[in-house]
């Protein structure tokens, strides 16, 4: 038999061996097939269902590795997940003259008595209309509609829906991703999922309690710099001089003896001259130098403080230093607009730096309607062992029944080997695309072994029916008949599982994806190969 005939006769088995080898490489060789995470990120984005916005949903993939390249999900690795909807409502397709944009948002703010951060107007390039959002629970739909009408915008209560826009959710996902991955933890993941028409922001971190995670997520992290200075009548006045968007660069937190804990920042070059002018105008660079004794009643009316305000709370106060004041007076500062933002301790400096860099959370999350899940890593490790044991026991049971049924190792042994090959290929695939494996996926693997063996039984029975297989032609014809049933059965399983793969039903997406992939690998690769193995063992060559 020449090489060509050999390949022609056994190409299905050869294909199976190739796939198993590739899977083993993907599973066990460090680095696997794809050395970087790009593929994993790609799928994460695709699963999140936000098209064309890779940055918004970029999920960072865990890098912790054991002796395989498998990535474990929350239910096998431990960690905490909080899924919460976003607070807010939206009015879409509003006809607003672009010149009136500022006026309209000012009116909305005043009418609804909201902070600037809780009102958002967005211009939609495609439709040429505006979208208005408010991020609070304290306003009803009719109040929102009323405020829009006051601002002379044509809108009724029917135009307003609960929930926020995709753009807002994307911004939030980006912000949360930065927040959870910069707080000294890695392996955080954030995405959105659409459950029954409502969007939830799903955040996963490896080692916080649900309460800690909620606390981090409920801080919106809106940072402002407020000038606190005498109003001339013996008391103080406050004026916001810098906002989040005014900074060009933010450095990591730093410490020195003179300034204490602080975050070095630079102000945007188009903002810096105005800021410098304002500081000169209200006296911070002259009489105010070094004059800050915040909240001391005795200093009332004489304080010149720059306050660092996060979410409306003053976290630090300091005066203008002499050198900086001089630079500002001479007008040189605006050419190199660097300064530092003070913080009382290292932790505050860290969170200040993160808040500045990540930006503020556009809208608050609604933790009253959330879902949380948390699992201690110790229990997760036990679950890993348990699922391995359960999987092995299930495979042994299947093997036992199959052997009892056929009492022919030539039929039964390749069946078990083929079913296992299916699992290996699937595991390799999961490792290659960095698909996180959890308990639902384990259930999926067991289901795959189940359907796989079912199909192999169909092949074996069909091929061995009506006497011995004595020619290749007889074998091929019987194999084709068996394959019609297998294809039909695979089709129904895929149809039955596909809603789960698309709908966001908690962890079940993974279960469905594994089952569908397993069925496909089975029908296309492993089950045909089993046919070839049987033929080799049963036909007279």
């Amino acid at each position: 038999m020449g090489l060509r005939d050999f390949i022609k006769a056994y190409w299905r088995i050869i294909l199976l061996i190739v796939f198993v080898s590739v899977a083993l490489v993907a599973l066990f060789i460090p680095g696997g097939i794809f050395a970087d995470d790009s593929i994993g990120d790609g799928t994460a984005v695709a699963e999140n269902g936000t098209d064309g916005n890779v940055n918004g949903t970029a999920a960072s993939v865990e890098t912790t590795q054991g002796w395989t390249n498998l990535v474990y999900g929350l239910s096998l690795d431990g960690g905490t997940r909080v899924s919460a909807p976003v607070v807010g409502m939206t009015a879409e397709n509003l006809e607003i003259d672009p010149d009136r944009e500022i006026e309209v948002s000012q009116t909305l703010r005043d009418e609804l008595e909201l902070d600037p951060a809780d009102v958002m107007l967005r211009f939609d390039e495609r439709t040429g209309t505006y979208t208005a959002e408010v991020f609070t629970k304290n306003v009803s739909q009719s109040e929102f509609a009323g405020a829009l009408q006051t601002a002379e915008v044509d809108a009724t209560e029917d135009d307003i829906r609960e929930g926020v826009t995709q753009a807002t959710r994307d911004e939030m996902i980006g912000t949360i991703d930065t927040k959870i991955n910069e707080a000294g933890l890695s392996g955080g993941r954030v995405s959105q999922s659409d459950i029954g028409g409502q969007f939830y922001i799903v955040t996963e971190v490896p080692d916080w309690t649900p309460q800690e995670l909620r606390n981090h997520l409920s801080e919106r992290g809106i940072v402002r710099v407020v000038a606190h200075y005498p109003d001339g009548n013996g008391s103080q006045t406050n004026e916001t001089v810098l906002e989040q968007g005014d900074f060009a660069s933010i450095s990591p937190p730093d410490y020195n003896d003179r300034s204490g804990h602080h975050v070095p920042v630079t102000v945007r070059s188009d903002i810096a001259p105005d800021y410098q002018q304002r500081m000169n105008d209200i006296g911070f660079t002259n009489e105010g130098v070094g004059q800050c004794d915040y909240e001391n009643p005795g200093a009332e009316g004489q304080n010149y403080c720059l306050l660092t305000v996060v979410d409306g709370e003053v976290v630090d106060s300091h005066s203008m230093g002499g050198d900086l004041a001089q630079n500002m007076r001479s007008g040189d500062w605006a050419n190199d607009p660097r300064f530092i933002m003070g913080a009382p301790n290292q932790q505050e400096a860290q969170s200040l730096s993160i808040n500045l860099r990540a930006g503020s959370l556009r809208a608050p999350l609604d933790f009253e309607n959330d879902q949380t899940f948390t699992l201690e890593p110790a229990l997760a490790d036990q679950f890993k062992v348990y699922s391995l044991i359960i999987g092995v026991i299930s495979v042994l049971t299947v093997s036992g029944v199959v052997y009892l049924r056929y009492a022919d190792a030539r039929v039964a042994a390749p069946m078990i080997v083929t079913a296992l090959a299916e699992v290996v290929i699937l595991l390799g695939f999961a490792a290659a695309i960095r698909m996180p494996l959890g308990l639902p996926e384990v259930a999926g693997f067991i289901a795959v072994v189940g359907t796989g063996v079912d199909d192999l039984i169909i092949i074996a029975d069909e091929v061995m029916s009506e006497g011995d297989v004595n020619s290749r032609r007889v074998f091929e014809s019987r194999f084709r008949k068996a394959f019609w049933v297998i294809g039909a059965a695979a089709g129904t399983t895929i149809i039955a599982m596909s809603p789960l793969a698309v709908l966001n039903l908690g962890d079940l997406q993974g279960f469905a994806i594994i089952t569908i992939l397993g069925v496909l690998i089975g029908v296309l690769i492993t089950r045909p190969a089993y046919g070839d193995i049987l033929r080799y063992l049963l036909t007279d060559r």
């Binding site: 879902q371 201690e376 348990y386 079912d454 169909i458 089709g491 149809i495 039955a496 789960l500 089952t515």
Partner: protein
């Protein structure tokens, strides 16, 4: 061949009506149970916390099982001990205030020696989140079932055999649902997954039977027996795997795998009856009487 073989049943002894009566009666009882449940509880099946809302904590504690409810201000709806791990309990609450429940567990339950914490795992679902999940799950099951039905019609392109598949698959889902009510298993995401998988699994043996009888040469009873030999082997193998998975996962306290295994076991058992009594009687009627009409 083999240590066991699928027995040949003499179907000629039973009329179609007799054959169909048993599975239809079981289906009627199952539907009655679901209906009764709906009338008395407002839902056809008991909903787990993922759908109804509530909190579940897994705790490792030296406190006695009977004293655990006293540790919490809120009412405990169920406590289950984990067989393979002493002193591990799964406690469920209808309250969704997981932060308070966690604190109460940590401060009022006695940790095991060598552990600082009590709560090993916790999950909490608000009622609105649960309601949304429930709706999505219903959609999922509905779409899967309709999709499967359409596919069955495309495969066989004849009315009676396709309907036979759809009716058996329907019964295969309804019977385990009724069983869940009787056994006190609530509907969770795991059981929904199992029900969907059941649609895929159970149709296999129906397709095999239909294919053997309709598309293959040979006498009706010969074809039936040929399909049964393969089909029963398949189903029994899967049932064995699922039973073992259900038992071992229950012992280990891995709820998701336990419920998937148990529901599939019951559903596949129902499928044996539905395929070889209900589906078969419909096919026989179609083959011997239907064609003459």
């Amino acid at each position: 061949m083999g240590y066991f073989d699928v027995p040949e049943i003499d179907y000629t002894r039973y009329s179609n009506r007799q054959l169909a009566a048993v599975p239809l009666a079981v289906l009627a009882v199952a539907l009655a149970i679901l209906g009764g449940w709906y009338v008395f509880t407002g839902a056809p099946v008991g909903l787990g916390i993922e759908f109804a809302g509530g909190t579940e904590l897994t705790v490792d504690t030296a406190t006695d099982e009977s004293d655990i409810p006293d540790a919490f201000d809120e009412e405990v709806s169920s406590i289950q001990s984990v067989q393979t791990e002493d002193n591990r309990y799964i406690v469920q609450f209808t309250s969704t205030d997981d932060e308070a429940l966690r604190e109460q567990a940590e401060s009022n339950l006695e940790p095991l020696g060598g552990n600082d914490g009590v709560v090993m795992s916790g999950s909490s679902t608000s009622a609105s989140f649960g309601a949304q999940t429930q709706q999505t799950a219903l959609y999922g099951i509905g779409i899967a079932f309709v999709g499967m039905s359409v596919f069955a019609f495309i495969l066989f392109r004849t009315f009676v055999p396709s309907v036979a598949i759809v009716v058996s698959a329907f019964s295969d889902i309804v019977i385990p649902l009724a069983f869940m009510n009787l056994a006190g298993i609530p509907l969770t995401l795991g059981t929904v997954a199992a029900l969907l998988l059941l649609i895929g699994y159970s149709v296999d043996s129906d397709i095999l039977l239909n294919n053997s009888i309709l598309r293959r040469s040979g006498d009706f009873y010969e074809s039936t027996h040929r399909a049964m030999r393969t089909g029963v082997t398949m189903t029994v193998t899967s049932m064995a795997a699922m039973l073992v998975m259900a038992i071992s996962a229950t012992l280990f306290g891995v709820e998701l795998l336990a419920s998937v295994g148990l529901i599939l076991f019951v559903g596949l058992a129902a499928d044996l009856m539905n395929t070889y009594m209900l589906n078969l009687s419909m096919l026989r009627w179609y083959k011997f009487k239907g064609v003459n009409r």
